[in-house]
């Protein structure tokens, strides 16, 4: 059978950001895949060395528009670990609330994109309509819909007062039935199942060996989630990773469906248990030493490393994002699939090139 190689991306209706996959096919079947990235690298790690360390919070928040808060928090946690800063408990709970709201809107966004990838446009619009409520909550509590910019080294810059908390509960109360209305479609609809079940299978041992993270790993049975380390207030709130075992695109969808509910519950739980007290401590001096931390983005484990030499500028900042390590897993999922399944399988890892090309 003659082979043919053609590009998938960097511009493709299913790709919100630029990545190219060079697909080698035999007839309609994919036999080999090579990735090409680097269309939008921004040199953020270099820029972080040129900024005073306090200003890097703003830089890191701009790595990604979807999980902006989590990037800012990861950077703050790294510096706090170097400088041995004890963050007030109230700030730790507020960090969980904004992190889980970020996960909630990210997963609803992704569910919409999945529906869009196989032409289920009405479902796509319903998911994004529901997501608007989460963005409204973020706007009310942080002043911003996208780049919340509430994390600072030593805590958070904004608080949620009793009036806002009550309003938030009301808004979340209207959100729940709307999520309940769209989620069963993802679980039971024939069209969705026919496009995802058995497509892009990643066995558990392969997922672990290839370094997959997030729903990509958990959809293959790997029970790892960085929130299990108990950072922020996760150790007090109690946390169990959502795991599915089939390893296909449907399993990865189900993980995100279950995490959508879990994020919703975590926001309410953190709000109920929000301790009284300060929201930040004053940080003096410059970071001297190194630290490596991991937090859980909607797409998976996010790694930050910082090295300070006791001056106002960091010696090195390294950011390893989940999509970067999920690419090898994607290259394993695609061979053997039909060309028509490529968009859905690519989307099933929830690729974020903005994160990947920091």
């Amino acid at each position: 059978m003659p082979r043919m190689t053609f590009p998938f991306g960097p511009q493709h209706p299913v790709l919100p950001e630029a990545i190219q996959l060079k697909l080698t096919v035999e007839d309609e079947r994919v036999v080999e895949v090579l990735p090409a990235i680097g269309y939008m690298h921004r040199g953020i790690e270099k820029a972080a060395e040129k900024n005073p360390y306090l200003n890097n919070v703003f830089l890191c928040e701009r790595i990604c528009g979807i999980c902006s808060f989590i990037h800012g928090m990861a950077y703050c946690q790294t510096i706090e670990e170097i400088m041995k800063v004890e963050v007030p408990p109230r700030a730790e709970y507020l960090r969980v609330i904004w992190s889980e709201l970020s996960r909630l809107h990210s997963h609803l966004l992704w569910l919409g994109l999945l529906a869009d990838s196989f032409g289920f446009e009405s479902l796509f619009m319903q998911c994004w309509r529901v997501r608007e409520i989460v963005l409204d909550v973020l706007e009310m509590t942080t002043g911003q819909r996208v780049i919340q910019s509430t994390c600072v080294i030593g805590g958070v810059r904004r608080d949620i007062d009793a009036e806002q908390a009550a309003r938030m509960r009301e808004m979340l109360k209207t959100l729940k039935p709307q999520i309940d209305a769209v989620i069963p479609v993802f679980k039971h609809d024939y069209t969705i199942k026919s496009r995802t079940v058995g497509r892009g299978v990643l066995p558990k041992d392969q997922a672990w060996k290839l370094g997959a993270v997030g729903p990509t790993l958990r959809g293959s049975g790997g029970a790892w989630d960085a929130r299990m380390t108990g950072y922020a207030a996760y150790d007090e709130l109690g946390f169990e990773p959502m795991v599915e075992t089939d390893g296909d695109s449907y399993a990865r969808t189900l993980v995100r469906v279950r995490e959508t509910y879990q994020a919703y519950e975590l926001v309410l739980k953190a709000l109920d248990r929000l301790p009284e007290g300060e929201t930040k401590v004053k940080v003096k001096g410059f970071p001297n030493g190194e630290a490596a931390i991991r937090v859980e983005q909607p797409r998976g484990e996010l790694f930050y490393y910082a090295l300070g030499d006791g001056t106002s500028h960091l010696e090195r900042l390294k950011v390893r994002t989940p999509t970067f390590v999920n690419i090898p897993a994607l290259l394993t999922m695609l061979p053997g699939c039909e060309i028509a399944d490529v968009p859905v399988i690519v989307l099933s890892i929830d690729p974020c090139m903005s994160c990947t090309e920091r």
Binding site: G38, H41, G43, A291, A292, I293, E301, R316, K318, R320
Partner: protein, 124 residues
């Protein structure tokens, strides 16, 4: 809860063995970080060893070769390509070698994360 990290220094000749030992213990490569320390590089490989991080630190001269670990762990391939492009570190035997064009283009500065970049660089 703070992250806990164990750091083990290894020679570059022993890196493959140390990595294999971790992989045999079901560890997962999280990433590698390259540090430019003027006379030499220090490459730190971070592994997830349930539930904490283990760091293998390797010191390598700027004109020396560092054997790649992507033959043992394919996930290292993109990470090694990135280090090679951004620091100019000579990593050999990369399983999927992009020849310096994974993230940077021909017009990009060469080895942009080096503290002191080569004089022959071209500014993009």
């Amino acid at each position: 809860m703070k992250s806990v990290m164990e750091t083990i220094s290894v020679g570059k000749g022993d890196l493959g063995l140390a990595v294999q030992r971790l992989l045999d213990n079901n560890s997962r490569l999280v990433t590698a970080v390259c540090l430019d320390q003027e006379e030499h590089f220090v490459v730190k490989y971070f592994f997830h060893k349930e539930p904490e991080l283990v760091c293998l630190a390797v010191k390598v001269g700027k004109d020396e070769e560092l054997p790649g670990i992507s033959g043992l762990h394919l996930n290292a391939a993109l990470i090694e390509n990135e280090m090679k492009e951004f620091f100019g570190i000579n990593i050999t035997g990369i399983a999927l070698d992009f020849g310096g064009r994974l993230l940077l283009s021909e017009e990009s500065p060469r080895a942009p994360l080096l503290k002191k970049r080569p004089e022959t660089q071209t500014e993009g």
